[in-house]
Symmetry: C2
Subunit: 257 residues, 2 copies
DNA sequence: ATGGGCGTTGCATGGAATGCAACACGGTGA
DNA sequence: TCACCGTGTTGCATTCCATGCAACGCCCAT
């Protein structure tokens, strides 16, 4: 909506792909060098881009700080963390916490597996939305029109033969997940990795986050992992309880002086 | 330099302090509501802010993704990580990696202590620049005028009685650190926590990063921690070697097709 | 029913972002 | 040594676009 800001912000994903010099930025933005220079300077003043010795620009430090502060403001995360850690303690497997935001699902917390063979993932990284167990739970809870709209505009990459092939299959899967209250991903993203997941609900019953336990099947078989389902669900319920308890539903009035 | 972008970016740190509604954002920016709305919309389109159910804005998901990609572009980090992990393995203590950027020093990697009592820190969080051992190393390597200028404009908070009191003391300390090639922080930030740190150098000898080992003195005394200094220095040298080897000094030409 | 608070929209105006052209600078080859 | 690129940088006139205003719609509370 604001051309100048729009251009400036477009620089960030561009630099995320790697450092670039002034000319490259200007070209890829389709603006004059002087314009790009001024935009970059403004970004620089705010610490979002950094100029390295060779004069090329790359993403800046403030970005980390902002992301950190952002994640610390998510109260679900704080409340959930001890539960996730405890679950990791009991099972030894990788535990994830994810939320949905504007058509993306992303991990906001993670407790690493104790086993040497670990799955790759990164906090902040958007997940494979069409196959991840946590994504299914979060999207299954959307109001139907939104769910349909989102399903329609997604891509359905065939990571493996068991990946969700298309929108129809996805919506079908979401219906099932919605019904049963839990979800799995059995080799849908990476052939050898399985996950089981359960939803975390707010006081109004809406799904606010989802958690999962993941393990490669060189460590445990899918059946063994599924056996953990009751435990995972109980953990999710415990978190839901904590969360609903501490966060008064919808009361955003000023706190009593 | 660009008013519009400047205003838009000012919203981010503002939201980092917690969610805010349109009116609050407009007030704190000193602009009309409609202006704030358009800025927020632009930020929203780029995923930097998110609008929660109660219509208030908070920092958005793309910020994480950007921060992640930014950190993955830092090759020092990638090269250093296995060394840090190995050092953590041998000592059991928390190991940090930090870089300097525009007058700030921040952690870009961390391997957690094995001991139950851990120090608090966060990747991405700017460090206490006047007392942290890694900060001393990074700043000690700056050209003298820059070092003086920076020292002059810093604040010198008295975290503890042993915190660096003022610019003069700081510059003195930097000189010492520069001379000896390593640094410590003995209770200068938190009374009970000590660190020893060593520099990581690029092929041209400049300090590109610094690493440290930290432990509370309920776990090991300062003397015991200092005994690890040779090991820390050897590790830093090993990283420097790896880093100089894989990153050809200053050669930013196109890679051979 | 009625008022107040909030977010939202269309529009006229002026300020601010833009592209241009000229400059500065460092490196390269003659 | 000089001239010549290819950078990044600056001042300036034009113009477009961001701005503030005022009016509207909406929801909640009284």
């Amino acid at each position: 909506m604001s051309q100048t800001v729009d251009r400036a912000l477009s620089i960030l994903p561009l630099l995320a792909q790697g450092p670039a010099d002034l000319g490259q930025v200007a070209d890829r933005l389709g603006v004059h060098k002087s314009t790009a220079l001024r935009l970059l300077r403004t970004l620089h003043e705010h610490g979002l881009v950094y100029r390295q010795q060779d004069q090329r620009y790359r993403l800046g430090a403030r970005l980390f700080a902002l992301a950190q502060e952002a994640v610390e403001n998510l109260d679900v995360r704080e409340i959930a963390h001890p539960h996730l850690a405890a679950l990791n303690d009991r099972t030894g497997h990788t535990v994830h916490l994810a939320v949905h935001e504007d058509g993306e699902v992303l991990y906001i917390d993670k407790v690493e597996s104790r086993y040497p063979v670990r799955m790759y993932s990164r906090i902040g990284k958007p997940v494979a939305i069409t196959v991840a167990a946590v994504a299914k739970l979060l999207l299954a809870d959307l109001p139907e029109p939104e769910r349909r709209a989102l399903a329609a505009k997604l891509d359905y990459p065939r990571y493996t033969p068991r990946s969700t092939p298309d929108a129809a299959a996805f919506l079908q899967e979401l219906a099932t997940v919605r019904e049963q209250g839990w979800a799995t991903d059995l080799g849908g993203h990476e052939e050898s990795i399985n996950c089981v997941a359960a939803p975390i609900r707010g006081a109004d019953g809406r799904v606010v986050a989802a958690m999962s336990v993941s393990a490669p099947n060189v460590v445990v078989t899918a059946e063994e992992l599924l056996a953990l389902l009751p435990l995972v669900r109980r953990t999710a319920e415990a978190i839901s309880h904590d969360y609903s308890g501490t966060t008064p539903p919808k009361e955003t009035e000023e706190s009593p002086a």
